[in-house]
Every structure is written in C-alpha cells, then in structure tokens.
Symmetry: C2
Subunit: 265 residues, 2 copies
Amino acid sequence: MAAWARAVRGLLLDVSGVLYDSGGDGGVPIAGSVEAVRRIKASGLKLRFCTNETQATREKFVKKLQGMGFDISVDEVTAPAPAACHILKERSLRPHLLVHNDLIPEFAEIDKANPNCVVIGDAAENFTYANLNEAFRVLIGMEKPVLISLGRGRYYKETDGLKLDVGAYMKALEYACDVQAEVVGKPAKMFFESALAEMGVPPQQAIMIGDDIVNDVGGAQRCGMRALQVRTGKYRPCDENHPHVKPDAYVNNLAEAVDVILQQL
Amino acid sequence: MAAWARAVRGLLLDVSGVLYDSGGDGGVPIAGSVEAVRRIKASGLKLRFCTNETQATREKFVKKLQGMGFDISVDEVTAPAPAACHILKERSLRPHLLVHNDLIPEFAEIDKANPNCVVIGDAAENFTYANLNEAFRVLIGMEKPVLISLGRGRYYKETDGLKLDVGAYMKALEYACDVQAEVVGKPAKMFFESALAEMGVPPQQAIMIGDDIVNDVGGAQRCGMRALQVRTGKYRPCDENHPHVKPDAYVNNLAEAVDVILQQL
C-alpha cells in the first residue's frame, strides 16, 4: 500500500462478497469481516456501506447483516432504490416495477398508476418470461421509452452458484426496445458522490473496497477515489488482467485491507 | 415496383408475420396468404421459406402450416437449427441447449455430453431464471466461451401480444460473459446464401419478402437481394423511418406483393 493510504479519512465498503457471501439461506459472513468493520469504526475513520443490493429494503438488508454480527445501521447504507425514488419524484415518473418482491416497500410512496417508465432491479425469481415480456410491452408502448436500472452488474455469487445480475436483463430490454437505460447505483458517478457527501469526505481521502472490478473499483476510481479489490465474492483471477481497470491494490479479503490501511494511519 | 422485379426468378418468404400470425392457439393465416403461396408456385417462380422459427422442428412447423391450408413441405424450408447442427458437427462442439422443448429433436444426433458451447434459441417458456443462470454458468466456466444463437430477433408478435425474441436473451448472456454470439439464421449472410443455393438462384434474381425491417429486409439486401417489407406481423409504422434500412418497396401484405411481382413478369 502506498503513501496515499495515509491521507485516508473515509472508507466505502461494498457489502455482498466483501462482508458476506449471500445465498438462499441468508448468507455467511466472510472470515474476519465482522471484526474488520468493528476495527474501522474504532479507528475513527468514516464509514459508508455502498451497495447495489436491490433484493430487499434497506431495513431488511441491515437486519440480516446485524443477524450475522455486523455493526451496521440503516443510515449508514447507500443503496439504489432510494436514489431511484428521488429521481422518479423529481421527474414525475410513474414506474412499472420489475424488482424483487422484498424491494417493493421502498417504492410505497411512489405513484405507479398508468406507468411512463420501467424500473428494473435484481428481480431474481421475478425474472420470469412473463414478467420480462410485460416490462418489454410497457416500454415498447411508449413514444420514448424510459428504462431505469438499479445497477448494471453482470453477475454475482450466491452460496449455490453464480447468478445473472440486473445488468444482463437490462441489456435484454435495451436491445429489444433500442433504448439506453439510465443506471442508478454503482458504477454511476452520482451514486458514489452521494455516498461521499453523506460521509463528508472528498474523493481523494476515501477508499472504496469491493469485489467487483468494474462496478466497485472502476466506478470509484472514475470519481477520484482509490479502490482496492478483495479476492473474495465474485472476484476471479482473470480480473487481474482486466483491460481497462486496475485497482490501486489487491487484498485477500476485507480483514487484510483493514490491517494494511490501519497500519498506514 | 421497379423494372428490377422483371428479372426475378425466385422468392424467399419469411413465414411468421407474412404467412400467418402465430399464437398459443397455433396461429391464424394472414388474409390472402394461402392463395398467394399457391399463385407463386403456379407462376413457375422458385420459392423458399426462410424462417428463424426455432420453437418447433421443421416437421412440426410445416404440419402446422399445412393445417392452415398452406402448400409447403419440409424440404422447402431453410431454418436455423439444421444450420446450427452443421456447424456443431464441423467444429466438434457439444452444446448445452437453451431452446424450446419442441426444437430438441432437431439436435437428436448431436453429442451433448460435457458441453463446450451454448446454443440459444427462442426458448419461450423455457427462458426461466433458473435456465438462464444455468446457461450462463456453463458459458462462464469455459476458458473461451462459445455462444451460438439461432437468430438475433428483438421481439415478435403472437396473438396474445409482443414477446421478447432470442436476440434479447442472447444480449443478456453476451453482456454477462463478455462474449459475442455467433448468429445462425437471419440476418446472417451465410443463412441467406444457403437458401439461395438451395433454390439455385443468384441474389440479383431473388426477392425476400418479410415483416422484419432488420432481419429480413436488411439481411437480404446485404446479400445483394431486393427486399420488400409487408405491413403485417411485427411491422410497425416507425419502421418506415428506420435510420439504416430501406426496403425496395412496401406492400400491405403478401397477397399484394405477389400481385405486383406477377404483374411484372
């Protein structure tokens, strides 16, 4: 780790694949991560959890992590659904939702009658043939289709294997309707910027730690942050030869990242 | 219709949306199309049905059309599945199939053990979340993923509404695995060329008639054929402002196309 780590005042942590491995059973903490979060908080560094998680409300998501032993609260989490609600209200958009059932409460206060846009999230089991056709018909029926995507991830790892992420289904609808989705969530610059603003730390003094070479590392670096890739979660050895994105450092896991960063302070 | 129509010796007809509108009930002939096929055959013009249909074996597909009154036989049909089998054998590829149940018999003689490629067709109800994840895992597990797609259509119309076509799901897998699919079927040049070879007619003396501005009209024109777009099936008025593709003529339906072509002979 280089001298730049000494200037660090805040950390952004991706959650799935960094804190825990998700799965149908709720997930399993990654060894050392529970303690690593405690050590960050004890160090006085600012901390923000920056997730593209859209399979649950923040409340439910935080409860799950607390159940695994993590010291985390709802107001420490930056997530796509609340960011999308902000945009929907601002632009008077009424969404047709193709999202996970457990995310629907995040949109409780949004008018959904007579939709004039589609919001797609990681709908998981809701990515049925019928639901995809329905979202497609809503879009293709608009004069100028508006597709808002809660992330653009390609895939993620659960305990029972790799799963296609929202980005793949976003591409399917983009192609079918000949539109470009507006992405809310990582790697959108505005999303990282709002997380930094919530911490009150400028990008030069923040480090992003994530398992996704493009959405975590590349996205954060484009905002002027340093970024570490952990070798857990969806990390694959071939990420280290990525043609466009090179992390500022590799670490085996979050615990090692925290070791190295705290040593520099 | 211009003078070029006088040189015509062979016609290529798209099937769904030109001969009939498909649907869960098996489909409904488009008014005048049954008679139009008979008139083409009586005229002495060569005729080839050139379809991206991959929801059934050619046998079953032809039987359905015969049931609607069409004069058509299996050896008059050019379709993607047999073309894909040819490629699979030639390159010793063993496919994991993500196709419609009714298409599986077309691959009966192909070795499917220990797959080293994925073949995707219009799987319709088989486009489940689980099946897409499975195809994705097979691909991402390969050192160099090979994805063969039976067409690249965006969507099509059935009697109960528009449906996402194979191209949309192809794009999802392409994005998730960072690969480019090899497309068999329209608009692949090789596919049109094999249909022309089967008729023994050079492209300059052939006319393609289809409802798909890109896959029928654009694809055929890139092979040196003339192409007409019918205003039936998936045709939409905005096709007439397509930024890249302009048919040699528009006709309201196949019956009108045949009227005009036969008048020129």
